[in-house]
């Protein structure tokens, strides 16, 4: 009963900062998505609140939605790597592993197998959530091989098309022609086809999206997690712009995300038949939490 | 107890059973309650390619590991090791210690003037005998050459009894786990096919070994 590790000991409840008490009393732990789902953000104690990311950051927004969408936050471990995302992810009330550069999917492979070994009858959700550099450049072989090995966890790539945290260098996911640090005359080759690679490597559920629609975004995240529990590796390729390196005025960040949704981040959902059947089973009506 | 130690280097060609005979020497020492350590050669194992194996035999536990760089005894299973330089160690007597023994499978003179001078200076006992012929004569196959060579070695060192040797030969051919290279393992099975029955193989091998030991006795080569 892992929720227990979230419950303050009776004697010390009054000595804990309110913050921690509220996480259980008003937070999403042990509660149903209908009460504390992503669409209800603002009405319950969130897993991540204050964070050191830039003002108006679309990635920070997505990370808030991501944590609100978790079906089982008390049994979830997130794994990230160097990059902007971890600044907010590390502030969440969910265990977070910050390993070495780009090693998130290798760590997750070990972690997932160890969980399945230790807790064969329980769902422990492992989610890697890292940037385009960590997933597709430095961590590429570990990302791909975890998929090829059919490791059952969810991979989320926060694609801002640039190395944001290190100051705006070209990444494999930058657009061809983009003028960035380390591509002073424009990037010479195309953006890597991440979702195609994922499908080729055997991911059973792959979505490319710009997360403009909270409800849909939350649903996709949950589908990816459920499919990883039962079927195989899942991958979400999410547009999370860098308003600093791409000089997007804060007020235009949302519009930019919508524009991307019309071109290179057009919503695209791929699933195997097995996943389709699973989703059919889990979502008989509108967005209903799976029985654990 | 006085320390007795023979560090032996065996040079031969792939297919001559160099590694197999090293294993049997080791096994015989073990059976005699003595000590031996083997270092299998780690490299290409092809027919007629150079092969080297190293055996240390002693009446006390052996600590050192690795190739035998400074041998007391050098065994040359094929004259081409010397005449054609088919050896990992060139010249063949490299590292030989003073008062050592060199056993060469040949009945012709394969040593040149310089070789002889070096060996003389080291006070080396050089034993030459055509073991291939001996193998053919007794076992009917040159594949038993290694048994003849080993017989000479065991006769010269005189560290084990016939029973110990026979047991070791049995273990090698009838099983009990050992690590063999792919090459030697397939060679063993080739010999087995030739003899059809393992028992026959064993008997013939033992005959060759006995003959070789008798030869050592008759020639007074024993140390």
């Amino acid at each position: 009963m892992s929720l227990q590790y979230m419950v303050p000991s009776a004697n010390f409840k009054k000595y804990l900062p309110k913050d921690y008490v509220e996480l259980v009393d008003h937070g999403p732990f042990g509660r149903d998505a209908s009460e504390v789902g992503a669409e209800k953000i603002g009405t319950f104690k969130e897993l991540v609140e204050e964070h050191p990311m830039c003002s108006g950051c679309w990635m920070a927004y997505f990370i808030k939605v991501f944590f609100a969408a978790l079906p089982n936050p008390e049994d979830t471990v997130t794994i990230g790597t160097a990059g902007c995302g971890r600044l907010a992810i590390s502030q969440a009330a969910v265990p977070f592993i910050y390993g070495n550069y780009g090693d998130q999917n290798a760590i997750a492979s070990g972690l997932t197998r160890a969980f399945r070994l230790r807790f064969p009858d329980r769902n422990k959700d492992v989610i890697t959530i890292a940037g385009d550099g960590g997933m597709m450049d430095i961590g590429f072989s570990m990302t791909m091989h975890a998929w090829i090995r059919q490791e059952k966890f969810t991979t989320i790539m926060l694609d801002n098309e640039v190395y944001g945290n290190t100051g705006g260098q070209e990444s494999g996911m930058s657009m061809k022609g983009a003028i960035l640090k380390m591509s002073p005359t424009g990037k010479k080759f195309d953006k890597m086809p991440a979702t195609q690679l994922a499908i080729a490597a055997g991911c059973v559920y792959v979505v490319r999206m710009s997360p403009t629609n909270i409800k849909r975004t939350a649903k996709i995240i949950r589908r990816a997690i459920f499919a990883a529990r039962e079927v195989g590796p899942t991958f979400l390729h999410v547009y999370t712009s860098c308003n600093i390196e791409y000089s997007i005025p804060t007020q235009d960040v949302f519009q930019d995300a919508k524009d991307r949704e019309k071109d290179r981040f057009k919503f695209d959902e791929y699933m195997t038949d097995e996943v389709a059947a699973l989703i059919e089973k889990l979502e008989p009506k509108k967005e209903k939490k799976a029985a654990n | 107890m006085e320390l007795k130690r023979y560090n032996i280097r065996i040079s031969g060609l792939g297919g001559q059973g160099v590694v197999t005979s090293a294993h049997i020497v080791g096994g015989a020492m073990d059976n005699a309650g003595q000590f031996a350590s083997l270092v299998p050669f780690f490299g290409s194992e092809k027919r007629m390619a150079p092969v080297e194996a190293y055996v240390r035999a002693s009446n006390q536990p052996i600590y050192e590991v690795g190739e035998v760089v400074y041998p007391d005894i050098i065994m040359i299973y094929h004259p081409q090791v010397i005449t054609h330089g088919k050896s990992y160690t060139m010249p063949f007597y490299t590292g030989l210690k003073p008062n050592g023994v060199v056993i060469i499978n040949t009945d012709v003179n394969v040593l040149n003037k310089e070789d002889k001078a070096v060996l003389e200076k080291l006070n080396t006992t050089v034993i030459t005998h055509d073991c291939t012929k001996m193998a053919q004569d007794i076992a009917g196959t040159e594949l038993a050459t290694n048994m003849a060579m080993m017989g000479i070695l065991l006769g010269v060192t005189n560290l084990v009894s016939m029973d110990d040797i026979e047991k070791a030969v049995k273990e090698r051919f009838l099983g009990k786990s050992f690590v063999a290279s792919g090459g030697t393992a397939s060679l063993d099975s080739a010999i087995e096919k030739k003899f059809k029955k393992k028992e026959a193989l064993l008997a013939k091998n033992m005959e060759v070994i006995t003959a070789a030991i008798d030869l050592v006795k008759s020639k007074g080569w024993a140390r």
């Binding site: 000991s9 900062p17 509220e22 603002g42 108006g56 590390s90 949302f254 | -």
Partner: protein, 237 residues
């Protein structure tokens, strides 16, 4: 007696106690100033520090703050009993180990990434670490010795801590109670009058009213948490 490990501040770059030759005490023994002593000796000196130094504080860690194991209830009872016997005692928890943005409230918690924020802000001169995982306890104890003049006491469920001025190992609820008894005895010897009093609750901000909270409460940031289809908010920052 020699003091290998003494109250700080020892300065910019502390030398670790183990590197100064301090070793963990064997079972049944304690550590006092880095020397292996009878547990009672260490407990007495620790009690004296808690009774005579300013702002004695107990820092309970995650292992006693949450109800994850059967023995937590008894242990927390014992800790509160102990706290009630220390005049002017406070309880400031160490609820987690991550570096916490933007900054901790030093009156509400202590964080291993910068423990001296809490020690110095509250002028704590004697403290107990209990229920903190050993790795983080060691980091905190050493940083406190580096930058503050605080007598540190480790009550450890495992092998104790070289870095603390007083270290008790294999601590169960019964050991906390034994320490309490020794503390009362020392208090009486020192002639300090005291009626058991519970430390004040956590002074962190009052509860938010979750029942009537709505996105409107988020003001100009509301679009970031609640976007509606077709909505495009321009009047921000």
């Amino acid at each position: 007696m020699s003091k290998k490990v003494n109250v700080g501040p020892v300065g910019y770059m502390p030398q670790s106690a183990p590197s100064m030759g301090v070793e963990l005490s064997p079972e049944g023994k304690g550590l006092l100033y880095g020397e292996i002593v009878e547990e009672e000796v260490a407990m007495k000196e620790a009690a004296k520090a808690l009774l005579t130094m300013e702002n004695p504080t107990i820092f309970p860690g995650p292992q006693v703050l949450w109800d994850w194991k059967d023995d937590v209830a008894d242990k927390t009872n014992a800790i509160l009993e102990l706290a009630s016997e220390i005049p002017n005692c406070r309880i400031i928890p160490m609820p987690d180990y991550r570096p916490k943005y933007p900054k901790i409230d030093p009156e509400a918690e202590i964080n291993p990434n910068h423990p001296n924020l809490t020690i110095l802000h509250n002028r704590i001169k004697a403290c107990i670490f209990i229920g903190v995982h050993c790795h983080y306890a060691n980091l905190s104890l050493r940083m406190i010795r580096s930058g503050a003049d605080c007598f540190t006491i480790a009550m450890c469920a495992f092998m104790g801590h070289e870095e603390a001025m007083a270290s008790i190992r294999d601590v169960h609820a019964s050991d906390v109670r034994r320490f309490k008894e020794i503390l009362i005895q020392v208090r009486n010897e020192l002639g300090i009058e005291h009626t058991p009093t519970m430390p004040p609750p956590n002074p962190s901000l009052p509860d938010e009213k979750w029942d009537d909270l709505s996105p409107a409460d988020y003001g100009e940031y509301r679009h970031l948490i609640m976007s509606k289809k077709g909505e495009h908010v321009t009047d921000v920052e």
